[in-house]
């Protein structure tokens, strides 16, 4: 339970500042501090058992199928990091109370900070590697929010995005590494993985895994060449820098190196990748730090350098080096956090961080200056301070390794060079800021900070001194247990004494101190040399890179997707040609051996007419009216084909749909140009012709292949059961209203919806009403020719009669509700054509959308009625009744269903055609009318 609370309390703590938002700033700070303080207390309560080597474990099932169980694991390493996170976190909370101004939203800051703390604790306490990743990414997110806290500053936004991009990318690599790791080890539990070091290192995927893993660690820990995000993250408020960029987040990568040390280290590859990266980073960071004029910039590069140092230590594949690494983690956290906070104080109280302007601050803030001097000295590795101890160990370790064979001496040499730089920039930090003449152009007079703002710095500096003097007493146990965890129990002999006698490491330290002082004294030449080099503005480069990436993406995307439907269609059809054509090519023979029906002259004539008129439609497609007439012939021939090949129902439907379509197209042509301009380039026409021919050839061949193959189908069932089970002799109709009635229900729904959609399309459409036809003739004078009007009125009853006839016979003979509905609708449309909208509206004022709804409802309810009899939806019913005089009659539920179809069709057709017709009248569809 204990370990859980260490994580849970800060998590709950994210809410505290939000809840206290209305309270005073101090209360907010104290309230926020309460949760981590309590967590710290719990952590301290476990000291005994952790130091004794116990591993506290807690586990809950979460996603067993992914191998992701919530596991908390507190060992020495986790203890060390938790301690750093919580303790320094508390100091930061206190510090931030004074650092943040009135304009800054304190609840937001504290909430983000607590979120970050939770994430960090999550990483170090996790006992499951997927869970580690979960918290790992959470640190990226929360640090993004913290870096961009002053979002109105452009460099804050950019810095945050840069950090997120780099660490996010690294996080993805880490995920891949973890998945590989889990897969190799057969478990995602940390404990299992740490035991499988040998297995993992022998696996063929180990190199890939390691590279991915290190990419994750190095990006987070700002190792070269990913280091550049860290200086740019300095746009964040200083408490953030002090916390994230010195003590915690940048250490997350280091933490992982330490955490997986037993499983991954010890190989040649590990050494090469880790130690060389660390060494490079150590040098690059130290060198660049010297030339930064920004206080925080200098600290940032120094952090990079120290992180490189720690990385190098872990890369040396030596147990003692690992111990030194752990030790330096502690020391770096203390002195760097205090330095950042002190820098923040200077910034806060003097209004600047530019060391070219900050001079002689000793006279204004002696206490702060003293504190900073001590911390800087610790950073430089001055004896009696904690930094000296770990640096000493570091030097010793660089001397112990023989990894580069005969060239192994390079490592201690370069380490010393880095140390010289380290001393030089530390010296600059002190001298340039606190002495070196008078301040230049500061906006306010610097002064000491409030009492409690300095307190965190004081505490940390005190620790630097105390650890420096009595290391074994103060951090002996901590280091011991942490190092033991890193080394999986194989702790080497080592001593934390201040004095190891005169030895090579001490000499290296001395050289570093002396060299550093000398270098600082001679800094002028170095600075001149550096300023002669071309400056590298990483932020701008990154921004430019991102812009180029975006622009490149845009260009590529627009090149692929140029917004032209013709291209989309061509691609769709090409896909068709390839996918449908390939199997055809693989086929042995197209024909399937089924005997063909002989061709007769009449059918040949029909086919010829069909082909000619289809061809004519294409040829004349730009003369739209002519094309329409030609395609009517095609439609007519198709209907005749249906009749010829024993499908009277199809012919009827095709014919009735045909007429409605022609009316529709005629209506539409009024609002569209009558001619299509010639626009396609010849090459495009050729391409289209080719594509169309290929599609045609494939479809025709497929059809031929099917028709000439023998066949067995479920249709025999329909023929056998139409009369006995469906009560009708027209099998097609019985299929429609009974066997597959659900299709029909969907089909009339489509029709109804289309009608609604069309009404919607016509609502409030801007009318464009041509005053003359395509040739420029004004329209004819007579709106409603007399003969047509009279005849249309006489045809109506006839058509109604025919449609009733067609309706009722449908079940047993060709016909049915759909065709009947279209006949009725056409008869009414004929009235619209011959008499106009006003005339019809005066005699019949129906909202057709309601007719559609009623029709659908009838069909729907017919289906539902079968539930009353405990039957599935749409179960049909029919029976024969013997009536006196009339004889036998059949009643069937199919009739009711067909009635629904009929009403829907009438409603939908009229809604479509009449709405379109009404566009030029005072009854135009508007939205209000419908409301």
């Amino acid at each position: 339970m204990n370990v859980l609370w260490i994580l849970l309390l800060p998590m709950l703590g994210t809410l505290v500042p939000l809840l206290l938002a209305k309270q005073s700033r101090s209360r907010n700070a104290w309230g926020t501090a309460a949760a981590p303080a309590l967590a710290l207390a719990i952590l301290l309560s476990t000291t005994q058992s952790v130091f004794s080597g116990e591993v506290l474990l807690q586990q809950w099932q979460w996603i067993p199928l992914l191998g992701l169980d919530l596991t908390l694991r507190l060992d020495g390493l986790a203890y060390l990091f938790s301690l750093l996170i919580l303790a320094i976190g508390l100091l930061i909370i206190l510090y931030a109370r004074y650092y943040l101004s009135e304009q800054d939203s304190m609840p937001r800051f504290y909430s983000f900070l607590m979120l970050f703390m939770t994430a960090m604790l999550g990483i170090v306490l996790s006992g499951n590697i997927l869970q580690i990743w979960l918290f790992w990414e959470l640190t990226s997110i929360s640090s993004f929010l913290l870096i961009s806290f002053w979002w109105h500053k452009s460099e804050a936004r950019r810095g945050a995005r840069m950090a997120l991009t780099i660490t996010g990318g690294g996080g993805l690599c880490l995920l891949a590494a973890f998945l590989l790791l889990g897969n190799i080890a057969g478990s995602y539990q940390l404990a299992d993985i740490l035991e499988q070091g040998a297995l993992i290192q022998q696996h063929s995927l180990y190199p890939l895994l390691l590279v991915l893993f290190l990419l994750g660690c190095f990006t987070k820990s700002a190792q070269f060449p990913f280091h550049f995000w860290l200086p740019n993250a300095m746009a964040a408020p200083t408490p953030v820098s002090a916390y994230l960029h010195s003590a915690t987040m940048v250490k997350a990568g280091i933490f992982l190196l330490a955490r997986f040390y037993p499983a991954l280290s010890g190989t040649e590859l590990w050494f090469l990748l880790v130690s060389l990266t660390g060494l490079t980073t150590l040098l690059v960071g130290a060198y660049l730090a010297l030339f930064k004029h920004d206080l925080k910039g200098l600290l940032a590069y120094s952090t990079i350098s120290h992180l490189g140092l720690i990385t190098l230590l872990f890369g040396l594949n030596a147990p003692l080096a690992a111990v030194a690494g752990v030790f330096h983690i502690i020391n770096h956290a203390t002195f760097k956090a205090s330095l950042f906070m002190a820098a923040g104080i200077i910034d806060h109280e003097s209004g600047s961080r530019d060391m070219r302007r900050l001079n002689g601050l000793w006279q204004f803030m002696p206490i702060t200056a003293t504190l900073m001097m001590v911390a800087a000295a610790a950073m430089a590795g001055v004896p009696l301070l904690n930094g000296f101890l770990s640096k000493e160990m570091f030097f010793a370790e660089t001397l112990q390794q023989h990894l580069l064979g005969a060239l192994s001496w390079i490592i201690p040499l370069l380490a010393t060079v880095a140390a010289i730089f380290s001393v030089a920039y530390s010296l600059r930090l002190i001298h340039d800021v606190f002495f070196n003449g008078q301040p230049k152009g500061l906006t306010k007079t610097p002064h000491e900070p409030p009492r409690y703002m300095r307190l965190p710095v004081e505490v940390l500096v005190l620790l630097c001194i105390l650890v420096g003097i009595a290391p074994a007493m103060l951090v002996g146990g901590l280091l011991n247990s942490a190092a033991a965890a890193v080394l999986a129990g194989n702790l080497p002999e080592y001593s934390l004494a201040i004095w190891h006698g005169f030895n090579l490491p001490l000499l290296m330290s001395a050289i570093a101190l002396a060299g550093g002082v000398l270098m600082y004294v001679k800094r002028k030449q170095l600075f001149d040399f550096q300023s002669a080099l071309p400056g590298v503005d990483t932020l701008n480069i990154f921004e430019q890179l991102m812009k180029q990436l975006t622009r490149g993406a845009e260009k590529l995307y627009n090149w692929i997707d140029n917004g032209s439907l013709q291209r989309y269609m061509a691609l769709l059809l090409t896909a068709f040609v390839i996918l449908a054509g390939l199997p055809l090519i693989q086929m042995d023979a197209l024909g399937g051996g089924r005997a063909e029906i002989p061709i007769d002259a009449v059918n040949a004539t029909g086919a010829a007419m069909l082909l000619i008129s289809a061809f004519a439609t294409v040829v004349w497609h730009r003369k739209r009216v002519v094309a329409l007439l030609m395609i009517s012939v095609v439609g007519l021939m198709v209907s005749i084909a249906f009749t010829r090949f024993s499908a009277p129902d199809l012919a009827l439907t095709q014919l009735s749909v045909e007429v409605v379509t022609i009316i529709l197209l005629m209506l539409a042509l009024f609002f569209l140009p009558h001619k299509t301009p010639k626009q396609s380039e010849p090459s495009k026409v050729v391409r289209d012709l080719g594509l169309a021919s290929l599609v045609g050839i494939i479809v025709g061949s497929l059809s031929y292949a099917i028709m000439t193959r023998p066949f067995t189908t479920i249709s025999d069932f329909f023929i056998a059961n139409a009369k006995t089970g469906g009560g009708g002799t027209n099998v097609v109709n019985v299929i429609l209203v009974d066997f597959r009635g659900f299709d029909t229900l969907g089909e009339i729904a489509v029709l109804g919806i289309a009608a609604l959609g069309i009404f919607k399309l016509l609502t409030r459409i801007p009318v464009f009403k041509p005053s003359s036809d395509g040739e420029g003739r004004p329209w004819a004078r007579e709106r409603h020719p007399l003969l047509l009007a009279t005849v249309a009125q006489s045809i109506l009853p006839l058509a109604l009669m025919v449609s009733i006839y067609i309706f009722f016979r449908g079940h047993n003979l060709p016909g049915g509700g759909f065709i009947a509905g279209l006949i009725t609708a056409v008869a009414i449309i004929l009235l619209y054509i011959s008499q106009g909208v006003d005339w019809v509206k005066a005699r019949m004022n129906i909202e057709y959308q309601r007719v559609v709804a009623v029709g659908l409802l009838i069909a729907f309810m017919t289906g539902l009625a079968s539930w009353l009899f405990g039957r599935p939806y749409l179960t049909s019913w029919f029976d024969y009744f013997q009536l006196p005089l009339f004889g036998e009659i059949e009643l069937a539920s199919a009739i009711a269903f067909d009635l629904g179809v009929y009403v829907t069709v009438v409603g939908a057709t009229l809604l479509i055609l009449a709405s379109l017709g009404k566009m030029t009248t005072s009854y135009r569809p508007t939205h209000k009318e419908q409301l």
Binding site: R777, P778, A780, R781, E782, L787, L788, V791, I795
Partner: protein, 128 residues
């Protein structure tokens, strides 16, 4: 099978088919739109009547039924053919189609075209 009926069927079918064909020949042969209109309007209608009569007789040959519903198609064609012709010739007037050269009553044609298209002056009488 009733022999007489069979003859009747053959007769009417042949008669109808001939007239239908003649109507279409007219459509192709005649020199201008107005003369072309006559064939399809009249000959074809009659031809259809013949074929439909043939069909009526044919289906009446089978013993149990008297098939007369083809009458309905005939009625329909008789009602609609003049209207179609009327609409077509109105369109032709509106489009000012030329009549073949030796057509008599040129002014009547002109006047008809004028009335088809003229806007306004609705009560004007077609007097010279």
């Amino acid at each position: 099978m009733n022999h007489w009926l069979e003859w009747a069927v053959a007769f009417f079918l042949l008669l109808g088919g001939s007239f239908v064909l003649i109507g279409s020949i007219g459509l192709v042969r005649m020199p201008d739109f107005f003369t072309r209109l006559h064939g399809p309007t009249k000959a074809t209608t009659l031809g259809m009547g013949g074929i439909l009569l043939g069909s009526i007789f044919y289906f009446s040959m089978s013993p149990e039924t008297l098939s007369v519903h083809e009458m309905l198609i005939t009625i329909f064609l008789l009602i609609t053919a003049p209207v179609s012709a009327h609409m077509l010739i109105k369109t032709a007037l509106h489009h000012r189609l030329k009549a073949v050269e030796h057509t008599q009553g040129e002014q009547e044609l002109k006047r008809g075209q004028a009335f088809a298209s003229k806007e306004g002056n609705r009560s004007e009488t077609p007097d010279d």
